[in-house]
Amino acid sequence: MKAIKVAMCSLAVLSMAAGCRTAPGGERRVVRGFNPVFSPDGGKIAFQRLEGDVFKLGVVGVGGGTVEWVEDGPGNAAYPEWTPSGGLVYMAGHDTETAYEAWRGGSKNGYGLWLYENGAKSRLTTGRCRDYTPSVSPDGGKIYFVTTRGVASESAVYSKAASTRIAEIDLTAREGASAAAGEPRILMDSPNGNNSGFVQPAVSPDGKTLVWGHLENFFDMWRIYGTRVGRWDRQEWCPVTPRGLAAISPRWHPNGRLICFSGFRRDDPGWGVWVEEVATGKVKRLETGENPCFSPDGKSIAYDRDGVVYVREFTAADMPDEILPELRDDDAPEKVLWSKEDVSKETALEAAGPQFAFGDDTTFFVRVKVKLDGTEGLRQLLIGEYDEHEYAFQVFANYAVWFSTRDFGGRYLDVKKDGYKGQREYTFTGIRTSKSLMLSVDGSVPAVNVPRTKVLSLKNLRRFVVGRGLKAGEKVIKAEVGTGWPCDVPKFRRREDLFK
């Protein structure tokens, strides 16, 4: 026995020396399927399987064996989640109509949430929409999920509504065990249009934090975001996983300090099972696979790969230990490069120099303090004219206030802020980062537009134009251009703030 132990240790040392990384706990095949989730007692795994044309949903022991099918009818079922009492919440639907029939007939048939409890099924949500990827609060009272409810149904490609939203239903408000859960409440929406959206919210073991997969923009990658439960406004959200790492499908470790997720970093062999310590941002890739889930005791992790569910141990050796470089384009404090005061009529000001070369990865801001008397007509308060574009950026006001710039092809991009009425002094601050345009009025949380395309790289400034269109009695009190994050605009929350 001793000889065997010595041989095993030697093998491990040799493997480490050769740079090999064997799975600390090994992995064990459980069942054909994907999206595995451990039951509250850790003895079973709920999962889904593609069988022919349909997605079925079942439960199997962690050691494999006979599958108990919860949904194996003609419709589809997916995304199981356990309740604390051992019930299952999942998405299911059986859409028998064609899209045209449903559209013409005003169908209410979509994919809703169901509850399977004590051998009985009840439908929790209804409607011509998709409610999916549920997460049940620790007390079992609430279900957070992703929904397409209320998303505009016209002009899909050009819609400004996000594709999905995060909603909740209150199970405690149900009238009887088989009743529907009432109208879901939309908690979070994205301002970034239909190429942005949410998927798979996961509420923390203490019920206080929600994380989810987030797509800000089609040219971006999925990333995990988080917020405190109840703080649903945009400025409260923050990225939890680092930029440069595609991350989706988060789930919590029972200790509330770790999450696991599907991740991909450049040069990885494929989607991987990743773990992150949320407070520090340390990460680790454990296996090739997707849709990981910790066991209730935190000692095992289940995931799927190529349509098969596996389970392996989760040990101290799997603890995250790497901090990926976090590319932040808004960290630097503001640095004012140019300013001009007291302009009451259109004034062109020659300016040039390499300091005004704002590459597409540079954060710059434009701040204009003005006194305006009304909202009629157009006032172009500050224009940056570059060789690359005559209106490379500008802050202008009419019935609203706008900050605009150009994409790499010279096409117009803007962000707008309502609520401006004229007749007093205002400070408008536009910010352009590598991926977004923002606009703040009087130091408010900025409105954000994450455009679909790359922003224009600005190289050669010709001049600034201040105060075009000002009416009598109006003036630009101060106009400034600078780099970094402007000191008058509140920053978005950071992971460190969320998990401190």
């Binding site: 899909a156 594709s163 998927v199 989706i248 499908s249 494929g270």
Partner: protein, 426 residues
């Protein structure tokens, strides 16, 4: 003609109130029965020397007009398209990376949201279509209907793996991040896979096989609908390795560097050669569709349009035909400059046949309406002049890009009919 009407009405009657899958099977059964009888082609029936008027059809554009998941709706769509007097149909096989037939390569069951979490759903009627499922597959119906009517049947496919829109992402791309495109800064992008990976080429060629199995007469590969792909997104690991092999320690250059474009372009050309060879082996014509054609050479085209050169592909015989999707004409002399560009194209086409545009889409400022506005003539007159320019230049035909519900006005359709009658009856 009368017998054809009866057949249509029989089909319509039989199909009415049927569920889609049954309806499709029923239609095919009807078509097979009817196929045993002599076809009664209509006046647009093609002969080898016919001047072709090709309709590009994206059935999605008819989703609110007809029930395009049923055979009945597909036939209705086709019949509406044929009001333009087109005598050849190139039917779209995918939107972005979402297929319009049950593809094994793209595992169709995951195409419908929300069964792949990485795909955002689309909530309008388009997001609920299941054209990639066996019940929604349009191609057997379209092919058979075209055959019965003596109309050419081709496939319009695209190089894109998305359509600037997450719901239309390719399943295969989403599932294989290791092949994703990458920016020069090192950011992977899930919108497309890099052509520099041999596995990506292999996957694309398998999809060519799927298209050939539909037995089209032509496959048109559309280089314009590129889903934001460009040379700027090809900084994948094998691309960087290839660059190092060619240029040693020199850092990877800007995407505008002709050496970079040629390196990536060569890999793409390799794929296109294999695509072409497969088509040739199956007796199918391979057509390439390009936008923004002017008098410049391939290199400048690659730079300006993040696209592909067509001249060397035509000259080499990779392409059997070139479809000029738009031209960069001089607004001061729209028809004269168009004619010069057409003749230039014809002089550089090698052995490839050529199609010129007769578009109502005006994305490239090249629609019939734009010509009419600039020349201060009616759209019907503009259409006739464009048809004549194409014919006189020696083109095989024109392409209607795209035929949507009612977007080719009756007067334009009449002009097309009159022109075809004139040139094809000679």
């Amino acid at each position: 003609m009368k017998s054809m009407i009866v057949r249509k009405s029989q089909l319509a009657q039989l199909s009415a109130n049927c569920k889609p899958k049954f309806c499709l099977a029923l239609t095919l059964a009807c078509c097979q029965c009817l196929g045993a009888q002599p076809e009664i082609p209509d006046s647009r029936h093609q002969t080898p020397n016919s001047f072709q008027v090709v309709a590009l059809v994206d059935s999605l554009d008819f989703a609110k007009e007809f029930d395009i998941e049923t055979a009945t709706g597909t036939v209705q769509t086709l019949e509406h398209v044929l009001l333009t007097h087109a005598n050849d149909i190139w039917w779209r096989d995918k939107g972005g990376g979402r297929m319009r037939y049950p593809s094994e390569c793209e595992v169709w069951q995951f195409s419908e949201a929300p069964f792949d979490k990485k795909r955002l759903p689309s909530e309008d009627i388009y997001g609920y279509l299941r054209l990639e499922s066996p019940r929604g597959d349009e191609f057997p119906v379209v092919r058979e209907e075209c055959r019965r009517r003596g109309i050419g049947f081709g496939i319009h496919t695209t190089i894109e793996e998305n359509h600037w829109y997450s719901p239309l992402s390719s399943n295969w791309t989403l599932a294989h991040p290791q092949y994703w495109c990458c920016t020069r800064g090192g950011d992977p992008w899930m919108g497309a896979c890099s052509i520099m990976h041999p596995e990506v080429v292999e996957h694309k060629l398998k999809m060519v096989d799927e298209r050939l199995a539909m037995k089209p007469q032509k496959i048109m590969l559309d280089f314009w609908r590129n889903g934001a792909w460009s040379y700027a997104r090809e900084y994948s690991a094998p691309a960087l390795a290839e660059w190092r092999r060619l240029y040693g320690g020199e850092p990877a250059p800007e995407p505008s560097d002709p050496r970079w474009q040629n390196m990536v372009g060569e890999r793409f050309d390799g794929y296109l050669r294999k695509f072409s060879a497969k088509c040739r082996a199956a007796g199918v014509e391979f057509v390439g569709g390009f936008v923004g054609i002017d008098d410049k050479d391939d290199a400048s085209l690659r730079t300006r349009y993040s696209g592909f050169g067509w001249r060397h592909l035509a000259k080499e015989g990779v392409l059997d035909a070139v479809y000029v999707m738009s031209v960069v004409y001089d607004p001061k002399d729209p028809f004269g400059s168009t004619e010069r560009i057409y003749r230039n194209v014809m002089a550089n086409r090698g052995k490839a046949e050529v199609y010129f545009p007769l578009a109502t889409y005006n994305f490239e400022k090249c629609g019939i309406g734009e010509y009419a506005k600039l020349a201060k003539i009616s759209e019907a007159e503009a259409a006739t002049r464009l048809l004549r320019l194409a014919k006189d230049a020696g083109a095989r035909g024109v392409v209607l890009e795209c035929v949507d519900y009612g977007n080719y006005r009756p007067a334009v359709c009449d002009a097309i009919a009159a022109f075809l009658k004139e040139v094809n009856s000679k």
